[in-house]
Symmetry: C2
Subunit: 266 residues, 2 copies
């Protein structure tokens, strides 16, 4: 599958209204799931090489509106990795200590070390999204932060970290349906936060904030807009992009400094 159409071109601007939320790639759900299962096996294989090589790392950033599918992506795609080599960072409302530092301080600490895959379930981008929509920062601060983010991601890249950023793009109707499911199913009540409705009411403001965030797409740290109304297609597309990226990083099993034929185990 060609994933290029889902990539935000570096230097370009984005109008989310032009990006589909319900794309299915011309596939049926069953076809998509079969393809995904194959890709997930490949992910585990390439992760082992990355881990063995221990020279490069991969950082996957997940951003979405509430009920956009971040947790589902972690479970169904990142779940294919050997847990020994993946670390998930969930960024919540900053603590008092975190707020006493610059906004990238806590994020930098969670950057994946060589050999590891790091997943940011929410990320430093929240600091130009929720804060902006709620008027906690003005446009000048937001723009300054976007500039800091570009330099920060370039720093990570220079240290051997590849970065993939996924915006899970759901429609307003799909979000409504998913929130309603949380209300209808007692086992999902705990996932429902009444505050999510306040955020939902600011749909268009979030759209604008996301459009600005997506301008940080570069060749070194590209954004992908993932059509996410269909969970199976979201999983397929992300699996494909991550696998292509791991292959492109081309991690190799390290050479050993001994001759295996000469070693005898007593």
């Amino acid at each position: 599958m060609n994933t290029d159409p889902y990539r935000v071109k570096a230097g370009g601007s984005v109008h989310l209204i032009d990006w589909r939320t319900d794309d299915d790639g011309g596939l049926s759900k069953d076809e998509g799931r079969t393809l995904t299962a194959e890709l997930l096996t490949g992910l585990a294989d390439w992760q082992e090489r990355l881990n063995a090589e221990a020279k490069q790392s991969l950082l996957i950033v997940l951003q979405a509106r509430d009920a956009g599918g971040k947790d589902g992506t972690v479970k169904h795609v990142m779940g294919a990795f050997n847990p020994n080599g993946v670390q998930i960072a969930n960024f919540k409302v900053p603590t008092e200590e975190e707020r006493a530092h610059d906004f990238l301080w806590r994020v930098h600490q969670r950057a994946p070390r060589a050999g590891m895959i790091g997943v940011f379930n929410r990320s430093h981008y929240e600091d130009v999204l929720v804060t902006r929509v709620h008027g906690l920062i003005d446009d000048a601060t937001a723009n300054a932060r976007l500039s800091h983010i570009r330099h920060f991601e370039s720093l990570l890249r220079s240290g051997g970290t590849r970065i993939l950023k996924f915006y899970l793009h759901v429609s307003r109707d799909e979000q409504k349906q998913r929130l309603q499911e949380r209300l209808d199913d007692p086992a999902k009540h705990w996932k429902f936060n009444p505050a999510d409705l306040t955020e939902r009411a600011r749909w268009d403001e979030y759209t604008r904030a996301y459009e600005d965030a997506l301008t940080t797409s570069t060749d070194a740290a590209p954004w992908y807009v993932i059509p996410a109304d269909r969970k199976w297609f979201r999983n397929l597309l992300i699996s494909q992009i991550v696998l292509d990226t791991l292959k492109d990083m081309h991690p190799q099993f390290p050479k050993v400094n001994f001759d295996p034929r000469e070693i005898e185990i007593e």
Copy 2:
């Protein structure tokens, strides 16, 4: 399956020679794998409740000789969990900063927070194993450390953390075979460390050090001696013990402070 026979009784002493390494529970490999698959589904379900409740946590300690199966256990058993709710801590040779603190300092920092499952791939027990076998600490220091460990684990328990400690028990022959496989397969060369042979030569000293470590089995933080020559039986037994423990912790979906029927999504 009754897992009680694999549990080290609190206050008792252990002679590892009395514990089988090649137990199969009277099952065939296929039967074992089918049972494990069912258990793993249960693990994911109960983990969701633990995560939703966010009041208790589970700490799983894995200890074994080289090639004993720690990494395989993480991959095949812990891989069943939603990665959002599990954190793996790999304890390597301590850094300079870590050595400048007491031996539990770095371990305490990696204790799982409420709602999480923490897995220690190697642990604070290395500080009474490798250090002792290599004569870096004397018996008095080892005994003092074992006492500190008991109090430390009791502290975690009082904070809502259940602890399970697994010693993966492999025979000397099985270790030889697994190390040889790493030499024979180029894709596994990187897993072979010539220093492992030095440790292997001290087999009996490690046995004695492990036997002392296993005396820290308490009702609050039990040790299990897992027959680990058969990987499928190791996975089955650990899955069963973890599942039984999660059920016994009885995490509940939290009650919500709103009436789902009264909420309307616009």
